[in-house]
Symmetry: C2
Subunit: 343 residues, 2 copies
Amino acid sequence: MEVENRKIVLKWFITGAPKETDMEVKEGDKIILQVPEEAKGAVLVKNLYLSCDPYMRGRMREYYESYIPPYQPGSVIEGFGVCKVIDSTDPNFTKGDLVSGMTGWEEYSLIRSTDKLRKITTTDLPLSYHLGLLGMPGFTAYAGFHEVCLPKKGDFVFVSAASGAVGQIVGQLAKLHGCYVVGSAGSKQKVELLKNKLSFDEAFNYKEESDLEATLKRYFPQGIDIYFDNVGGPMLDAALANMRVHGRIAVCGMVSQNSFSDMQGIHNLYTIVKNRVNIKGFLQSDYLHLYPKFLDCVEAYYKEGKITYIEDVSEGLESAPGALVGLFSGRNVGKQVVCVAKE
Amino acid sequence: MEVENRKIVLKWFITGAPKETDMEVKEGDKIILQVPEEAKGAVLVKNLYLSCDPYMRGRMREYYESYIPPYQPGSVIEGFGVCKVIDSTDPNFTKGDLVSGMTGWEEYSLIRSTDKLRKITTTDLPLSYHLGLLGMPGFTAYAGFHEVCLPKKGDFVFVSAASGAVGQIVGQLAKLHGCYVVGSAGSKQKVELLKNKLSFDEAFNYKEESDLEATLKRYFPQGIDIYFDNVGGPMLDAALANMRVHGRIAVCGMVSQNSFSDMQGIHNLYTIVKNRVNIKGFLQSDYLHLYPKFLDCVEAYYKEGKITYIEDVSEGLESAPGALVGLFSGRNVGKQVVCVAKE
Ligand SMILES: NC(=O)c1ccc[n+]([C@@H]2O[C@H](COP(=O)([O-])OP(=O)(O)OC[C@H]3O[C@@H](n4cnc5c(N)ncnc54)[C@H](OP(=O)(O)O)[C@@H]3O)[C@@H](O)[C@H]2O)c1
Ligand SMILES: NC(=O)c1ccc[n+]([C@@H]2O[C@H](COP(=O)([O-])OP(=O)(O)OC[C@H]3O[C@@H](n4cnc5c(N)ncnc54)[C@H](OP(=O)(O)O)[C@@H]3O)[C@@H](O)[C@H]2O)c1
């Protein structure tokens, strides 16, 4: 059966933050809902949920030295998704299976390398959670917090972009670990969520603060043991000035920095000598051996009501460019996903 | 017996780099060459060699949040020294003993807290080496390289201020560990020493380079595994852009940064995420349990001719302010010491 297959394509390489006009909906392409003859071990899927993640901005640049190659202008954007298998020539998957993994920003995708696809077996949690709580961002929080931050009970923990896909889990894991946790976020609504729904001890709106160094001193009069950095830039600088002796900074991402050529300077690095601070950049993909342990842990927490998850679901494939762009101005409240089809 | 005791005193707190005029020789003070009645467990010493170390600049500032308190204007400057015991009320020391430890920048000092004084037993190495190769800088190199850099055979190692007190030992230890080692220094003479006397594989004069990022790419086409950072600032920034995956940066000091209020911005920190780089500030004093092991190791290397040490000895107490100031413009060639008296 041949059907129409709408796609989101990148129009050109970008330099700064992505704009909606850097992408477009491409109509009119057709696809046969069957794995072609020549494709061995492939699956054809219907895309149900697509994930918007900050790293995708990096793939929109003409930059080949990354751990992941750039998108190609004119081609469909790739990202994590939750999909339903329609046809398969891979014995591990059969029609009707639900899977999560790398797919295209389109209605149907032919996935030729199936080795990283995960079959979804637990269906008592929302399907889209496989892009957030149970997916890459949740795993990033888990591995980053436990393996990179090396937390101890009673540690003073600071999380930036705290209401986001990764941050909200870091904060909750830290609370479950017996830490004192403060988060920063970019709106009053997010601050309320952090305090009332996501069990942070304190939270503040960084956009209303004029001196971040002083703000952090107010929230951490004794200093910070662990800073889980999602944003880089001025917040990282302010945290550096507030780190305790033997403090640890896990640098997860620098969402505040939109271009390599225009990075804001960090001025407080000198503090790391006197306070013997450890700053470690990490990628979740280095820890994938821990994924089964993570799933067990987080699913159990969720079912026991010890962890909650906030999502921002935008409706329709055509809403995907706007949803992605919104990450870089903080429009999303919680994990940003796009619902392409319900099933 | 009462004798004159000339001293070097700090005149006032400084803000930028120290100048000779920030210190003065104070003549006319007298001292009785005997531990006073009331002082239990003290020693009176004659100062033979005094050490000039970059951390002393930090003690000339009115800044109390450091691991070490500031000097007091009008009072004698303190620092590491090699001294001869003249009188003692501490049963662990007797007249004639040679010791190293914290003393005053003066001819004779009464040392009331003797617990950190080390007795010098090996006298077949130059006495002044207890301020360098066998002293705090040597130990800093040893602990920083082995405990913080976690070197592996074949690692590509970069050392800044490489001909200095710490740097020259880091480089030689790295070579003995089977690493490839490049050093930077601030003059042609220093570069020659690095290559011809201190067994570095390569060395360059950073003052002659206009684009440090490109310079490091030239010396490390495959990237840097370990950067032992003595200087901070633009060199740290350039190294960040050249780090390999899982690279390590040991931040030992930031001698290029003369004031807290005017730190140069670091712009390349984003690389630490994609390359999973670890940046660790450290203080040698956290590793003192390794001191005996260090002494055994380095003394043996020296006696076997596997390690060498370059000193810059300035003559006379009155030369001390100039010698200290010279550290911040790179006037010293090797470890800067001041000879106050031969014995
Ligand atoms: N290392 C890894 O393996 C790995 C894996 C996944 C994600 N990450 C990184 O983790 C970070 C968080 O990702 P996420 O998926 O959880 O995204 P997210 O937090 O759900 O969305 C991005 C958020 O960043 C904040 N933000 C945007 N521009 C900002 C700016 N200029 N200054 C400060 N905050 C800004 C916004 O929140 P506010 O309204 O609070 O400003 C926005 O909601 C990103 O840096 C991402 O690249 C790393
Ligand atoms: N963390 C610790 O426990 C610990 C212990 C000891 C020392 N340290 C640190 O280790 C570093 C080296 O100390 P050291 O005793 O071995 O000193 P040193 O290298 O013997 O003397 C300082 C050298 O720094 C270089 N320098 C001065 N100004 C500079 C600038 N603006 N830019 C670049 N280089 C500059 C000069 O060499 P060039 O001619 O090559 O420029 C100068 O000779 C210092 O940062 C010190 O604070 C740390």
